[in-house]
Symmetry: C2
């Protein structure tokens, strides 16, 4: 990313240190999580990263480009899920990890981006292209369960990707309720397992 930006730049001699670029993107990411896109101030990014505004604007001409790069760079990858020996155990462990992500970084980032995505379709498209689909992971978990005899053919693993993040996000942000073990188990036992096992 940053290298690519520099590659199309004019004949540069001095260039932005990779460490400094990371600090700028990290500051952007953290402030984006705290304040949302509309509340994000380039001034604040520069202050937190101890970078000059001229530098930041030179490399990222718009707030949208800065934010897109920040998310692309700092977004954590999908953690693997342990094989617990049962479909229910796998789902509880996995959904618990997703819940921690929703309550941690991913949720606040998304919460802070909705209005901007409504107004800036280009940014929206770019951010949506970065979304990690959970379908492959769901397929792996369900295939394991099928192999164990817990599931019969005909289940739709895509329902996991469709339902679980949405339920976790809305419960936490719209309703302000805890994503505790009880809720995770409800999500597994009352919603996802019935839909997969039927």
């Amino acid at each position: 990313m940053v290298d690519q930006t520099l590659a199309v730049a004019p004949r540069r001699t001095r260039r932005l240190d990779e460490e400094r670029a990371q600090a700028i993107l990290r500051a952007t990411y953290d402030l984006l999580r705290e304040a949302g896109y509309q509340g994000l101030r380039v001034d604040a990014v520069c202050a937190r990263a101890q970078a000059s505004k001229a530098t930041v604007y030179r490399h990222w001409p718009t707030k949208a480009s800065l934010v897109a790069d920040a998310i692309r760079t700092c977004k954590s990858g999908e953690a693997g899920v342990p094989d617990t020996g049962s479909l229910r155990g796998d789902l509880v462990a996995w959904f618990g990890a997703i819940a921690r992500s929703v309550a941690g970084d991913e949720g606040p980032l998304l919460a802070g981006l909705f209005v901007a995505m409504t107004h800036d379709p280009e940014l929206a498209a770019e951010l949506r292209s970065m979304r990690d689909s959970k379908v492959a992971h769901a397929e792996a978990v369900c295939a394991r369960a099928e192999h164990r005899g817990e599931l019969r053919p005909g289940y739709d693993p895509g329902l996991i990707d469709e339902i679980v993040p949405a339920q976790l996000f809305m419960r936490h942000f719209a309703l302000g309720q805890e994503l505790d073990d009880e809720f995770i188990e409800h999500l597994v036992d009352d919603i996802m397992l019935p839909l997969l096992v039927r």
Copy 2:
């Protein structure tokens, strides 16, 4: 609401016309939907409602109080659902209506309020207390279906309130995808009916 505000005010002679108050709250509501909470400017409310800032600040000392009153006043009520003669028909019609609301007013309002709710717990609590639960409605629809022999006892109507708004909102705002008839039918046939009928 507005009357209550006036009732606790000092010995007033001239007072804010009810029509004027409504115009201010309507302008607030509309701008909130367009720009979100963080993008809402009191200046813009005053310009749109043709009210002075002194007037607005006199009656609503903070942006949060203005926004809470605007939502309380302008939020449309839950429309009734026609009795189509079948559970599936009822759900398709009802979820279609919810989808139109999510894509219309309710969704953008919510999308624009997440960050504010994170930072202002009082505002969050107040807004959450205004949320129309769909449980009673779901119970009525399901009771009708049970009476028709379509459902057996043991279904959980609360799942409708839990799942449907979240799925509609996230599909529209997070994924930027259409809430078309196909998706409504998928929501009914592949998710809600299996969970209710089991």
